[in-house]
Subunit: 197 residues, 2 copies
């Protein structure tokens, strides 16, 4: 990786961090892109080259975690049973969410309060669910599995959402895994694969 790319990666990180601080300090709407650019000491035009929208600047952190989780799933051997692979994914998500702690909580709370950011978050998770469905379908094999894969993906996403949501609402104090396991237990028994340890 050349000097150029290193520098850009650093700038990218700096912009997201600077934005995050301003957002938490003054609120999302009250912070302008110009302010963020000034605080990070770049031109506004450059800021837009790194992040196309203000919402992206807030949500990139969450987005990265979800994409990493997908990579974890893809890295599992192709002959691993789907429920087991899904459990690895779920486990990764819950672990990293719990580790990132405060920042995740702050981002979610900001996003939920801000219509445009909440909408963008919904869109991200919806896109992510689609990618997850594709990966599950590949593992289940064959065209006919597409519907089951879509349902399995939706189930998984719902479990993640409900777990994270209650965890965030408790300020990071509740036991995320307990809810996850209760949800998985409820979902078992249908014709759709469910994450299993």
């Amino acid at each position: 990786m050349g000097l150029r790319e290193t520098k850009m990666e650093r700038t990218r990180q700096l912009l997201a961090d600077t934005a995050f601080e301003l957002f938490t300090a003054q609120g999302f709407a009250a912070t302008t892109m110009e302010q963020i650019a000034a605080a990070a000491e770049v031109g506004p035009r450059t800021l837009y080259r790194y992040y196309a929208t203000k919402e992206a600047l807030l949500l990139t952190f969450v987005e990265q975690r979800l994409d990493e989780a997908l990579d974890v799933l893809r890295a599992q051997p192709p002959d691993m049973p789907v429920p087991e692979a899904l459990y690895k994914l779920l486990d990764y998500v819950l672990r990293t969410v719990a580790e990132s702690g405060d920042r995740i909580i702050a981002v979610y709370e900001l996003a939920w309060r801000t219509p445009s950011a909440r909408a963008q978050l919904s869109d991200n998770t919806s896109r992510w669910r689609g990618e997850l469905a594709t990966e599950i379908a590949r593992r289940m094999g064959g065209r006919s599995a597409e519907l089951a894969a879509t349902l399995a993906s939706a189930n998984t996403m719902t479990v993640i959402e409900v777990s994270v949501r209650t965890w965030v609402e408790s300020g990071g104090r509740s036991n995320m895994r307990r809810i996850t396991h209760r949800a998985l237990e409820l979902l078992r028994g249908s014709g759709v694969p469910v994450a299993t340890p």
Copy 2:
């Protein structure tokens, strides 16, 4: 209902219809709010009083249908088994979607092509899913049912989404109900209530 309210309702309808025609004719992004206001012969400021955002103008049609479906569910007797009540809701959605035909297809295709509109649509359905979960929880009774209700709501929404999506993608030619029933069949057997005729 007084003359005043009647007139406003008419204007409201006129604005959405005018916008829809312009959107389909020239595309969502290429249509300005000013154009819509001019075409409907109201001031731009007035347009904003009826619809807070451009996306709302496009999506109000879909939104209305979903809200009606919730009302249908709420109208069912409280002692009706949840799976049966869910089936009534599902049935209403599929029926009205099929009846509204071209317009639904056009709205979805416009929304999917437009990031901001797609995000808004995601947000709407997410909010709707929450309301559905609340209603299901009430019918299942008790605090402890909340998680199962959330999962049931998510399942139902997924079934609707996947049905509508494939239907729209086929240009309204595929059999929406076949997919719906296959999906419901797959979902049966878990601890979560599933729509049943």
